[in-house]
């Protein structure tokens, strides 16, 4: 495993490190609020300042998500989103952008039903760079993590406040790309962590791995992003972006303002990330 090809994730993070700034990782749900608008949002994210894109695979039972992403999943599924469409959207995005890393994030069942081998083949072909699967801990690495690594797709693990020094080596064992530090106990989009706690946790994780550490959960504004960026390799924002989608809708439908609502917030967050280490 010593001479892995340089992935889009590694290349992007190396570039940001050279620039001396943190990454902005943005999460939006695939198919929210509808397939066309979702693709337009996806295509607009890099220009607005997103460095890495997490693209959520909607699931009927997102057990670790708070109300904002639950609602986004419901909107996407109601609009007819499927795994096939999610992969098509990544493929369409790749036609215009061969550099911005795309990480699919979600739960295992839709992948399992699609078929692991078929999924990895189609995801790789579409231009997916990494996976975050919330309900696959290292105890179940044979399911998807090891096949994904074999297929050349990074498997990104969540570390949490409950990940102690005994647990961290286990969960980092087959991790690649970066580590996503979930900075609070809880579901997405509810609580926010204090910057001091984040700094300590990032230091603890870095003692166990050379991988960059991205920090998320509860980041809503450029100001918060700046505070986190001072202590981490990157900042993850999700619920605030899907709430921006929600707030732009009329009668549940996308409006002319929907894409801009997301890109405006991304621009604010990107500015925050850039001044975080100034």
């Amino acid at each position: 495993m010593s001479s892995l090809p340089v992935t889009r994730i590694d290349a992007r993070l190396a570039k940001l490190k050279a620039e001396g700034r943190a990454a902005l990782v943005t999460f939006v749900t695939a198919g929210d609020p509808d397939a066309d608008t979702s693709l337009a949002i996806l295509k607009a994210l890099p220009g607005a300042g997103a460095d890495i894109i997490e693209f959520g695979m909607p699931f009927s039972d997102p057990m670790a998500e708070g109300p904002p992403i639950q609602a986004a999943d419901i909107r996407a599924l109601a609009a007819g989103q499927t795994m096939v469409k999610t992969l098509q959207q990544v493929r369409a995005f790749r036609e215009g952008d061969d550099e911005t890393p795309v990480v699919l994030m979600g739960y295992y069942n839709p992948i399992y039903i699609y078929g692991v081998e078929r999924f990895l083949g189609d995801a790789k072909a579409a231009g997916v760079d990494g996976l975050i699967v919330v309900d696959l801990p290292p105890e179940e690495d044979e399911e998807l993590c090891l096949p994904a690594i074999g297929a050349g797709i990074s498997f990104i693990r969540l570390a949490t406040p409950t990940s102690d020094d005994r647990r961290l080596p286990v969960l980092l064992r087959n991790s690649s790309g970066f580590v996503y530090y979930v900075s609070v106990l809880g579901v997405t989009g509810v609580k926010s962590a204090a910057a001091g706690d984040v700094a300590a946790a990032v230091g603890r994780i870095k003692a166990h791995t050379p991988l960059p550490v991205m920090v998320g959960f509860g980041v809503k504004t450029g100001e918060q992003a700046a505070a986190i960026a001072a202590h981490a390799d990157g900042v993850v924002v999700g619920s605030a972006l899907v709430n921006a989608v929600r707030d732009s809708l009329e009668d549940g439908k996308a409006t002319a303002a929907t894409v801009k609502a997301v890109t405006d917030l991304v621009a604010d967050l990107a500015a925050g990330v850039r001044r975080g280490r100034a």
């Binding site: 997102p62 309900d135 105890e139 409950t162 979930v182």
Partner: protein
């Protein structure tokens, strides 16, 4: 998806990682994993501790009222004109169902682990009531997540939980039934993992829950075995139980799994009928394997892996999954799983009430329905044991509504 070989014993599972064949496992968010591993260690230690068993046994005897009787339903047997039907009277337990067996075991474990707060999910409210009861008995705060639809159709149980000091949180996500309640309980657990013990009510979820809940419920089958041997001098020909998540069923089945002459049948909720899309809650007869709520098991789902809500007249069976050990027993062929419709359960509910003077829970009425179908085709010297897992007082309003009686 059937297994190629028949195991030497059906009673040795799961393996150390919680797998029954391809089923089971630990599919949970990383936040929960350290606690799940701690729970596994704590349960293994408790299992090896005679004092733990002694305390549980004493509580079972003096608090729950165990052993529950094995009752020969003489009039029902004569009415059907075939096999002798025995009822395992779990509905006579304190709190009115088998759920108390599991809750007492788990509260003792929570206390050993030093947890300060108990959460639970509930469908019909039977597990919620049993959880609230043991929390009152041991002085723990109790938060129960219950689908908003179920809160509406099981009002008496909601009030009972509140009387017992529990807080009941109606869950409006999804269809507001058991699946959604379980999602919300998991969200609470992720948020409060350091202080909180999650008292899962059925033999499902991440390892070690399926095995642990089965162990606590196996008191049903162990007693039944002794009681039928005392009454008849032999084992039954058929054991029948209703299956939602499957805790009462695995509890009575497990001690009989290695008795090849005992046929075992689990009865799923057939709802409006198996031909109605999303109109039933029969995971084994109408679903396929998938991963939800911490385990791989048969699930009601669409072609894209999205979970369906399912339907049953009985709030306790209205769940799109089933315990992983049942999935394995289904695929190995050791246990046969069949559906009973809402109407069949309703008819059985009324028959048992009128013929034996016993009002069964609508969940248990599904098992009674299967016995009613099978008994007439069996010989008079054959024996059926039905697990009467709960009493039907809570369902009187639901049944009244269907029968057009305004209570």
């Amino acid at each position: 998806m059937s297994e190629a070989t028949t195991p030497n014993s059906f009673r040795t599972g799961p393996d150390e990682r919680g797998h029954f064949g391809i089923f089971g496992g630990r599919y949970v968010a990383e936040t929960l994993m350290p606690l799940i591993l701690e729970l596994d260690r704590a349960y293994e230690a408790a299992k090896a501790d005679p004092a733990f068993h002694a305390e549980l046994k004493a509580l079972n005897a003096t608090y729950t009222g165990r052993p529950s009787p094995l009752y020969f339903a003489e009039r029902l047997s004569a009415h059907l004109g075939g096999a002798k039907i025995y009822l395992k009277r779990e509905e006579l337990n304190h709190t009115g169902s088998h759920k108390i067996n599991n809750c007492l075991g788990q509260i003792l474990l929570a206390r050993r682990m030093g947890k300060k707060r108990i959460i639970a999910e509930t469908g019909a409210g039977q597990h919620g009531v049993a959880s609230a009861t043991v929390c009152a008995r041991f002085g723990y705060p109790c938060e129960v997540y219950m689908g908003a639809t179920d809160v509406e159709r099981q009002k008496p149980n909601v009030f009972r939980m509140e009387l017992l000091g529990a807080s009941v949180h109606p869950v409006t996500a999804g269809n507001g039934t058991l699946k959604d309640a379980m999602n919300e309980a998991l969200r609470d657990w992720v948020t409060n993992v350091e202080t909180t013990y999650y008292m899962i009510g059925t033999a499902a979820g991440p390892h070690p829950y399926p095995a642990m809940v089965r162990d606590f419920q196996s008191v049903i089958g162990n007693e039944t075995r002794e009681q039928i041997l005392a009454a008849e001098g032999r084992l039954p020909d058929l054991v029948v139980a209703a299956v939602g998540g499957g805790s009462n069923a695995i509890g009575i089945f497990h001690p009989f799994l290695d008795d090849p002459d005992v046929r075992i049948v689990g009865v799923e909720a057939g709802g409006h009928g198996m031909h109605v899309y999303n109109g039933h809650a029969a995971s084994l007869n109408g679903g396929r394997p998938g991963v939800l709520h911490g385990n791989r098991t048969y699930l009601l789902q669409d072609d894209d892996g999205q979970i369906l809500e399912g339907h049953s007249i009985s709030a306790g069976l209205d769940y799109p999954g089933i315990g992983p050990e049942h999935s394995w027993l289904n695929d190995t062929g050791r246990v046969t799983y069949v559906p009973a419709t809402d109407q069949e359960a309703l008819d059985a509910f009324q028959t048992l009430t009128k013929v034996e003077g016993i009002i069964p829970a609508l969940e248990s009425a599904h098992a009674v329905a299967e016995a009613i179908k099978r008994a007439p085709k069996m010989g008079k010297d054959e024996i059926i044991v039905v697990n009467l897992s709960g009493r039907g007082d809570k369902d009187v309003f639901t049944v009244g509504k269907i029968l057009g009686v305004d209570l």
